[in-house]
Symmetry: C2
Subunit: 270 residues, 2 copies
DNA sequence: TAGTGGTCTAGACCACGCC
DNA sequence: GCGTGGTCTAGACCACTAT
C-alpha cells in the first residue's frame, strides 16, 4: 500500500531490520543508552530472536552498538581514532608511545612471522607482549618478535616478566631504525587476547603487522590486534579527530553522557 | 583421557569446530579445493547446520574460506597485499594508479564526509565512482567527493558518465597536493557496492577514508571500500609480497592450482 | 532440475553480571 | 536469584548456479 517499492528483489528481513534500527539509533537514541532486550525487540518486530540477532550483529560490526552478556545492548559512542601511522616514529617502547610493556619470554613465532623475519619456522625468538590503552580502556594487544641476532647484548635472564621485556626493548633501541612496513587486515581475536580486550573469542579485530627494518634486514616484527568495533586506525600526520561516521550510516554527534534507563516504547514494529 | 586440559571453561562447539577445520585446511586441503556441503559437514561432525555455519563464517572472516551460493565452499588463497600507503603518491587518477574511473555526478555527501570537507551537510559536491582491480577481480570501490570550490575551472557537463569523472580528476590535478590523511576501519558493504565486489550485502569490508589536503584545506575526500576477506592493506615502501598468514592460524603456502573435485572422507568427526 | 549456500523459525539451555 | 546476551537444535523454505 504505502510502499512505492516493487519487491522484485526481496530484501532479507534482517537487512531491512538493520536499516530500521540504524535509523532509529540516529534519531531516537543517545550514546550510552540501553536498548530493550533481544527477546522484547524480536517480539516487537515480529521476528525470531535469531533474525533480530543477525541485525544486531551487523550493527555491532559497524560500531553502532555494544553488547555485553549479562548486561545488555547499548548505543556505542563513535569510534575513536588510534594513530598507527608513520607519525608514530621510532622503535616500539619509545618513551612517548602509547604502549604498556608486558611480559616477555622465548617462543617460536607463527610461520608467517618467521617468514617476515627471514628465519626458519621453529627457531625460537624473544617475544614481548604489550597492551595499548586509550580512554582508560585496552584497545589493542601486541606481540613483538625479536630474533636473538637483533639483540646480541641482551643479558641472560630467566625470569619471564616485564623486566625482561623492557630489557629487550632497550637493547633493540641501540639499532638504527631505517623504516617500517605495515599491513592491515581483518582477523578474529584469539582466546587469550579476547580476555585482555574484554571481548568474546572470535570478535573482529584489525590486525596490524609491522616489519622493523634496520641495516637492510628485518630486525623485529610486531603483530598488533586492535578492537575493530571501537577503533578507527589513523595514518599520517595527526588527524584532528573529526566526526567520521560509521561506514554504512552516519553516526549522530550526541554528547557522550550515559543513561541506564531502558528505552521506552520508541521502536515501532516495521 | 588424552586431554591434559581441565574443561573448567567449556569451549563453544563452533569454536572448537573452527579450530578442527582450520587445522584440516592446513594439512589436508589445497587452495581452490571444494569442501563437502554444509549439510554433510554438519552431519559428519554431529552438529546442527547453524552451528557448523558459525564456524565457517569465522573461517571466511579470516580469509581461509570462500563461500558462494549455488556453488559451494572452497579453500581461499592467501590474501594478497594491496598498496594503500604513502607510496601511492599523488592525486587519485594519476596515470599509474590502480583505479579505473567510473561514473560521476553531483551528490550530497554523507554527514561524516561533509564534516571532513568542512562543508555544511546537504551541500552538493562532485562525486566520482571508481573501481580497483587486482588479479582480474574487483577488490575495492571508491567514491571521491570533490567540492565545487576545488575545481572552479570544470566545464559545465550535464552527462553523468565516465567522461565527466575524468574531467573532474583532470581539474583536481591542477592543485598542488600537500598531503594525505588516511583512516582504516571495519564496515559492511552497502547493497550497491556488494554487487560490484561480488559479495552479499553486509559482507565485511575495510573502509579507507582519505583526506586530500591542498593549500591548507581539504580539497577532496575519498571513501574506499576493500573486500576484507581477500585483501591485506599494505602501507609503506613496497612490501615484497611475503607469506603473511591469516591472523588466527597460519595459511599454508600451497600452489594456487584449482580443483573441482569434492573432498573425500578426510574430515573426521571430532 | 538438482544441489548449493542464505534466510528464518520457535523453541531450549548455558554463562555471565548484577543485585 | 534474576535478567541479559551467547550457544545450540532440527527443522523449513528461498535464491542462486550449474548442468
Amino acid at each position: 500500500m504505502g510502499t512505492t517499492q516493487l519487491d522484485a528483489v526481496p530484501e532479507p528481513k534482517y537487512w531491512h531490520l538493520k536499516t530500521v534500527l540504524s535509523d532509529a539509533l540516529d534519531s531516537e537514541f543517545e550514546v550510552g543508552e540501553i536498548l530493550p532486550n533481544e527477546r522484547e525487540l524480536a517480539a516487537r518486530f515480529g521476528v525470531a530472536r535469531a533474525t533480530l540477532r543477525q541485525a544486531l550483529e551487523q550493527l555491532e560490526l559497524e560500531g553502532r552498538l555494544q553488547r555485553r552478556r549479562g548486561v545488555g545492548t547499548t548505543v556505542a559512542p563513535p569510534r575513536f581514532g588510534v594513530d598507527v601511522g608513520p607519525g608514530e616514529q621510532g622503535w616500539p617502547g619509545s618513551p612517548d608511545d602509547a604502549w604498556q610493556t608486558g611480559e616477555s619470554d622465548e617462543t617460536t613465532p607463527p610461520a608467517g612471522v618467521a617468514a617476515l623475519l627471514g628465519r626458519d619456522a621453529g627457531e625460537p625468538v624473544h617475544s614481548v607482549r604489550r597492551t595499548r590503552m586509550t580512554h582508560g580502556q585496552p584497545v589493542a594487544t601486541e606481540v613483538l618478535y625479536v630474533p636473538h641476532s637483533s639483540v646480541p647484548g641482551l643479558p641472560a635472564m630467566d625470569s619471564g616478566g616485564t623486566a625482561r621485556g623492557r630489557a629487550v626493548l632497550r637493547e633493540l633501541h641501540r639499532l638504527e631504525l631505517e623504516g617500517k612496513e605495515r599491513t592491515v587486515e581483518l582477523g578474529s581475536v584469539r582466546a587469550d587476547d579476547a580476555r585482555q580486550l574484554d571481548r568474546l573469542p572470535g570478535a573482529p579485530v584489525l590486525v596490524v603487522t609491522t616489519r622493523y627494518v634496520s641495516q637492510g634486514t628485518t630486525a623485529a616484527v610486531s603483530v598488533s590486534t586492535y578492537r575493530a568495533d571501537t577503533c578507527r586506525l589513523t595514518f599520517g600526520d595527526k588527524v584532528p579527530e573529526p566526526v567520521v561516521p560509521a561506514p554504512e550510516s552516519p553516526a549522530p554527534e550526541g554528547a557522550p553522557r550515559r543513561h541506564r534507563a531502558a528505552a521506552a516504547g520508541r521502536l515501532s514494529h516495521c
